[in-house]
């Protein structure tokens, strides 16, 4: 891959993780990639237009007399659903104090739930796994040993939690995406339950750190917890 091809690819999809061989040899393209990702963050912010309150139109009555059953359907499992759910939880149950341009969170759980809202793109319903290389980059051996027993990992990024950069992973659960935050330096005294109308989760103490696992309200986290705990071992 040459510079031109790489730059075309990264401009079409700034989150693309390919072309690493070329990147390792080309500082200019690394800089270009960083520029494109910064540009994309600004684009994303600009696209968030203010939305007026919903005004439902007059809906006509429909003849339902011949309908016997409604089609079987799954729960909604989308980024927007989850983002809204997280927002509701934050607003209704926890409460956040705004301090200047920064947000001060009363607890680790609050910050984690708020973080889900900030990264709704992470919560896509997809069957596309992240590459082994991406997973190894986000969860390097210096932090933890991790294998694929946790489930289908569809998102892996490094994110700031409580002032530290930690691996943020998403696996696909039965009812939608399940967020996993590996926090090797975040020691807690005991398990912290996260409950809301639309989400449920837990922060588990693991050695000198902790792991947060958050899914939709109906998600059975027990088996996911076991898989995650079996697949992660702190290196520190």
């Amino acid at each position: 891959m040459n510079c031109e091809k790489y730059r075309e690819a990264i401009a079409a999809e700034p989150s693309w993780e390919g072309g690493e061989t070329h990147l390792s040899e080309c500082a200019a393209c690394r800089s270009h990639r960083d520029d494109m990702r910064a540009l994309d963050r600004r684009i994303a912010q600009a696209l968030l237009l203010r939305v007026p309150d919903l005004e439902m139109p007059d809906l006509p009555g429909l003849d339902t007399s011949n309908v016997v059953t409604l089609p079987a359907r799954r729960r909604i499992a989308t980024p927007a659903w989850f983002a809204i759910a997280a927002t509701v939880v934050i607003a209704s149950f926890i409460g956040i104090r705004m301090v200047g341009n920064n947000v001060a969170y009363p607890s680790l759980a609050d910050e984690i739930v708020a973080h889900l809202d900030h990264e709704p793109r992470a919560l896509r319903v997809t069957d596309e796994p992240v590459s082994d290389r991406q997973l190894a980059r986000i969860v390097p051996a210096s932090i933890a040993e991790m294998n694929h027993e946790a489930g289908l990992i569809t998102y892996a990024r490094t994110c700031p939690i409580n002032g530290k950069k930690v691996p943020h992973l998403v696996i696909q659960g039965k009812f939608g995406p399940v967020t996993i935050l590996l926090m090797p330096d975040e020691m807690i005294d005991g398990a912290v339950q996260i409950d809301g109308q639309s989400i449920n989760g837990v922060i588990l103490p693991v050695g000198s750190g902790s792991i947060a696992i958050i899914g939709e309200a109906d998600e059975n986290l027990d088996s996911i917890q076991n898989n995650v705990m079996n697949s992660v071992a702190w290196s520190t």
């Binding site: 690819a9 401009a11 540009l39 600004r42 684009i43 968030l48 939305v51 339902t64 909604i76 989308t78």
Partner: protein, 170 residues
């Protein structure tokens, strides 16, 4: 299930879907037509159409794509019916531009204006990818084009925005 229960369940299902996806529908419409008032009309028409064809949606997991497809078609229908030209963004007043924003911010306003100025063919895939989280495959499916063409438009859209923002700074 008797008919009144069916109707109530249908109404609940619709309300739930709309509650979740209304914001996406509005923003998508607003970026397609670049006009707040028209976007509201397009969303209203889309809600009516979605209500009438709700039973064709078999999986709520597919609701977002289904609703955005309806918005896209309703937007096209709107302009066919009204035979309106799309809004000339150079004629947008600052107050109009501000009314589209969620919060005032000069740098974001510049970016927003630059996005408005993108050709429709470039702006739409960008909105779908960045705002709606669509993959390039999904964009290609929604827009009825090949993935390669989507990649080209996305790459050109970002370069246009980059150039514009650099001009703003210069």
């Amino acid at each position: 299930m008797n008919s009144s229960n069916v109707a109530a369940a249908r109404q609940r299902r619709f309300d739930e879907l709309v509650g979740v996806f209304h914001q996406d529908m509005y923003r998508y419409a607003a970026w397609l037509c670049r006009d707040r008032t028209i976007a509201e009309d397009v969303v209203q028409e889309s809600l009516l159409r979605a209500w009438k064809s709700l039973d064709s949606l078999r999986e709520d997991a597919a609701a977002k794509h289904w609703l955005l497809t309806i918005v896209r078609r309703e937007n096209a229908r709107y302009f066919e019916r009204r035979r309106l030209e799309t809004v000339d963004v150079d004629n947008l007043t600052p107050s109009q531009e501000a009314s589209l924003a969620s919060q005032p911010n000069e740098e974001l306003d510049d970016m927003r204006a630059a996005i408005y100025r993108l050709e429709d063919d470039y702006r739409e895939p960008l909105v779908l990818q960045v705002l709606m989280g669509y993959s390039t495959n999904e964009i290609a499916e929604l827009m009825g084009m090949k993935q390669g063409a989507v990649l080209t438009r996305l790459h050109r859209a970002r370069h246009k925005l980059k150039d514009e923002m650099e001009d703003e700074v210069a």
